[in-house]
């Protein structure tokens, strides 16, 4: 039984088993590999996508539960990497290995939607993703920069 999904404003059909986590449907069935597998238990945040605009961890959501929700992945965040966060990420040279960064960006984008000018505390609460390379200070600086905040200059 095919399941219908709305990903990045495109309708998709998948024949994946209904229990398959959204993460693996995105990656292995729909070819959207920008969303990463990190832990499989919702801890690391590498698989963060937006569901109706809110950040969720796609490794925990069976595809049958997505229903009519609008899913946005890193590939659909903006055309030509033009999202203010993507531009700030490039300007601040944020990524090191980069593997966790799609999840970081999606978590940050959801944060900015809710708090256009977030405080450091807002960032601490919203960005719970794990980065082993230690890019946290630059992630923080880039979020402030994208928000146009004063703290954005801090490295």
């Amino acid at each position: 039984m095919a399941i219908a999904l709305s990903i990045n404003n495109v309708r998709h059909q998948t024949d994946a088993d209904a229990e398959t986590p959204l993460l693996w449907v995105l990656r292995d069935h729909l070819g959207l590999t920008g969303t990463k597998f990190g832990c499989g238990i919702g801890q690391c945040g590498a698989c963060t996508v937006h569901m109706n605009g809110s950040a969720i961890r796609s490794c925990l959501v069976p595809v049958k539960d997505v229903g009519n929700a609008r899913i946005t992945t890193i590939e659909g965040l903006a055309r030509d990497a033009s999202h203010p966060l993507q531009r700030a990420w490039m300007e601040h040279n944020v990524p090191q290995c980069g593997y966790c960064q799609a999840g970081m960006l999606m978590a940050a984008a959801a944060l900015l939607r809710e708090h256009p000018n977030p405080t450091d505390q807002d960032i601490d609460s919203a960005i719970t993703n794990i980065c082993r390379c230690g890019t946290y200070p630059r992630v923080r600086a880039a979020i402030h920069a994208a928000a146009g905040g004063r703290e954005g200059e801090r490295r």
């Binding site: 920008g34 597998f37 990190g38 832990c39 965040l77 090191q96 960006l105 960005i127 082993r132």
Partner: protein, 746 residues
């Protein structure tokens, strides 16, 4: 002492990161993307297309250090090309074999590492590659216009002849330039004339693909006809697969088969460039299916029984710690260094002796990309898409596992989602091939779950040390004995420290091995990541006994060393961190220093000093408020990349000392995911992590900056805890041990 005699040189590769860097590459599953649509190869290192896109071939994959961008900058410096049109691709390893070590011959085996571009021979090779191509382009223009080559100028991918106002782009000249043979290769310009290196910090070349989601890591490799495999190995290292019931799962959706990995199967054995961690096949089984989730679900459902082997006798972590500590009470096994008469001075000193025992636990690399790799094996050919940090090692393992000739083994390196030493040994490459070879002709993508990645690590070794020291009349160390016990002791961090190479006149350094079934390997700053904590904490104990301020104490010690970098680092970081200035109650500062890749000699490698400012609250909770670091790597190629590496390595070091400890239960590793293995997150990381540039000496070297920051954080924090509470923390992780009860050991 064979086991302990692993040189620092062996590790350059592992985790090294440059004083430079960035990264590039959109990895293509197939080779030679650069040579499509009429592009011309000017030298084996670079290809120029008619539209002026320039593809620079870089030695080694990108694991996050910026090594590939740095390599590209080295070539581009001499090529004088338009940086905005530069892309990178990996050198072709199979071509290297087929064309008589085309690349490796020039630069040595180390060029295939993730870092190492700061090594002089690699730097000069890449600079030469750029210069040689530029002169061919100029020669092509000279021939076309019949003008003397001396009158031509190369800049921004354009050759100009000013007298006649003619100009041509590199793209227009590329085809002709590719046919030019020079009578003599040009000499690269002096460093003083560099315009790109040391002057600019361009964005790392792979960043764009990371932020738009198009980057291809090992996990993202897609090959037509590919199947997925979910792998499980014996949960107790060294155990064997006893039985399994494939019939129970064979009708599950998508399931195509099963692959048993048998360590007893005959395999050839070759000399390997990275030999310090086990690369032997581990007993295991993989379920192969059309999609990964199907494979994983079926694997979980398949009845499997293991013969757990002798490792199961290791009942808990404490049993292992006890064995390591007990070993310290026995005579040491290997003598590493002996100068003067340390044991005699210590035996004669009575109550004047300072003694302490320290310990560090097993740690997991926890790269954000779980282990995985893709391979296509046929009878006489291997194609491998694998996030291997050391290509040369991966190729040797591929040959061992399949018996295929090197000239028929092709490795396509994708981006690497973190290595920190884990992806150097290529034990993962072997397991991928062991699965794929059971499905000849079909590409198989083998994926370790996060739990499997944790359980099947090559961990940072657990070690304990016992120190004894005496002080001279001025309170400085006069004699020091060091005995380290561990599973597989790597001596770096002590053997190359200034303390045992001249600053302490009497030294005896010994090690002992306590064999263990658990597999260990290199981990960012191998040896040093434990030993800097050991020695810098102990030196702090000596300073306390002497009643001398810890910063002043170290300044007096480094006066005995012929490299001013040490005192410069101490003074710079002390000044910047406000050493000596008042702090609120419960707050205190601690200091530590360290080095990487000095080989125990002045004027080499990178030196650091760090200050931690911490607060110990009434309930014993520890908060690290700030970390400051000053360093001397001689010079730096790219300030932004160096800052990123040092800051990242300090956070890595902070996580090690606050959080990381793998426990053992009945031979198995207990912590198998991030719910049980804590990692620092945004809210936990000090807001103030400062890298200070003021101690850079300008000495003629480019020391690496990937490892050196890792070691100093733990002792700086531990020494700050002592300053705040009067209590020594002698074991990692610190979190639970900050206030009484104190550790029983030492």
């Amino acid at each position: 002492m064979s086991r302990t005699n692993i040189s620092r040189r062996d590790f350059i590769v592992a985790t090294s990161v440059l004083a430079g860097g960035a990264m590039g590459i959109s990895v293509l599953p197939r080779l030679a993307a650069s040579q499509s649509n009429g592009a011309s190869e000017i030298t084996p290192w670079l290809v120029i297309a008619a539209d002026n896109t320039i593809t620079l071939r870089v030695p080694g994959p990108e694991a996050g250090t910026g090594g590939t961008t740095q390599a590209a900058m080295l070539i581009a410096e001499e090529l004088k090309c338009d940086w905005a049109r530069v892309r990178t691709e990996p050198i072709s390893y199979v071509r290297n074999v087929r064309e008589g070590n085309l690349y490796i011959g020039a630069t040595g085996i180390w060029s295939s590492f993730a870092g190492g571009n700061h090594a002089p021979e690699i730097r000069s090779t890449l600079l030469q590659a750029g210069a040689s191509a530029r002169e061919r382009l100029k020669a092509a223009a000279a021939a076309r216009w019949s003008v003397p080559v001396e009158d031509l100028e190369a800049r921004d991918s354009i050759i100009r002849h000013t007298p006649t106002r003619r100009k041509a782009s590199y793209g227009e000249l590329a085809a002709l330039a590719a046919t030019i043979k020079l009578a003599e290769e040009p000499k690269p310009k002096p460093e003083s004339e560099w315009t790109l290196l040391r002057k600019t910090n361009p964005p790392r070349l792979h960043v764009r693909s990371v932020v738009d989601g198009s980057s291809v890591y090992g996990m993202d490799v897609r090959v037509p006809g590919m199947l997925y495999a979910a792998l499980v190995q014996c949960p107790v290292h060294g155990g064997r697969l006893k039985r399994f019931d494939f019939a129970a799962i064979q009708n599950m959706p998508g399931v195509r088969g099963v692959a048993v990995i048998d360590p007893a199967e005959p395999r050839i054995e070759l000399k390997k460039p990275a030999y310090w961690a086990s690369t032997e096949a581990q007993s295991g089984i993989a379920v192969v299916a059309e999609h990964y989730w199907q494979a994983r679900t079926a694997l979980a459902a398949m009845p499997i029984e293991w013969d757990l082997g002798a490792g199961v006798e290791r009942r808990d972590t404490q049993q292992i710690y006890d064995a390591i500590h007990a070993r310290l009470d026995q005579p040491p096994e290997d003598l590493v260094k002996d100068q003067g008469d340390a044991p005699k001075l210590i035996a004669a000193a009575g109550k004047g002796v300072i003694e302490a025992t320290y310990r560090t636990p097993l740690s997991e690399h926890a790269t954000m990309e779980p282990l995985n790799g893709t391979a296509l094996v046929t009878k006489d050919r291997v194609e491998l898409w694998h996030p291997a940090a050391m290509a040369m090692q991966a190729l040797v393992i591929a040959q061992e596992e399949t018996g295929v000739e090197p000239k028929n083994i092709e490795l396509h390196p994708p981006l690497i989602g973190g290595s920190f030493g884990r992806r150097v040994g290529a034990d993962d490459v072997r397991m991928v091939l062991a699965v794929a070879k059971k499905f000849p002709g079909t590409p198989v993508h083998v994926i370790w779950s996060r739990e499997e990645t944790f359980r099947q690590g090559r961990y940072r070794d657990l070690q304990a040390v016992r120190f004894a020291a005496t002080l001279d009349d001025e309170g400085l160390p006069e004699a020091l004995t060091v005995h380290i016990a561990g599973h597989n002791v790597i001596t770096l961090g002590i053997v190359d420290s200034i303390y045992v190479n001249g600053c302490i006149p009497n030294v005896r350094f010994e090690t002992s091995s306590v064999p263990m079934h658990i597999l260990t390997g290199q981990f960012r700053g191998p040896g040093y990541n434990s030993h800097c904590f050991f020695i810098e904490s102990f030196i702090d104990e000596c300073a306390a006994r002497a009643g001398i301020d810890p910063l002043e104490y170290r300044l007096r010690i480094v006066r005995r060393w012929a490299d001013e970098g040490w005192s410069k680092c101490l003074k710079e970081v002390g000044g910047r961190a406000g050493w000596g200035q008042p702090l609120p109650k419960g707050h205190a500062r601690g200091i530590a220093m360290g080095s990487w890749a000095t080989d125990g000699e002045p004027g080499k490698g990178t030196i650091v000093a760090a200050v931690a400012t911490v607060e110990v609250k009434n309930d014993g909770a520890l908060q690290v408020h700030s970390l400051d670091l000053a360093f001397d790597s001689g010079r730096i190629l790219n300030a932004d990349a160096v800052q990123a590496q040092l800051q990242g390595s300090m956070i890595f070091g902070l996580n090690m000392c606050l959080n990381e400890e793998l426990n053992v239960q009945d031979g198995r590793i207990v912590e198998d995911n991030f719910d049980r293995y804590s990692m620092l997150r945004m809210a936990d990381v000090p807001r103030s992590i400062n890298i200070h540039m003021g101690a850079l000496s300008g000495h003629d070297r480019y020391g690496g900056t990937g490892e050196v920051g890792v070691g100093v954080v733990a002792p700086a924090v531990a020494n700050a805890i002592f300053a705040a509470t009067g209590q020594r923390v002698r074991t990692m992780p610190f979190r639970v041990d900050v206030l009484p009860p104190q550790q029983s050991h030492g």
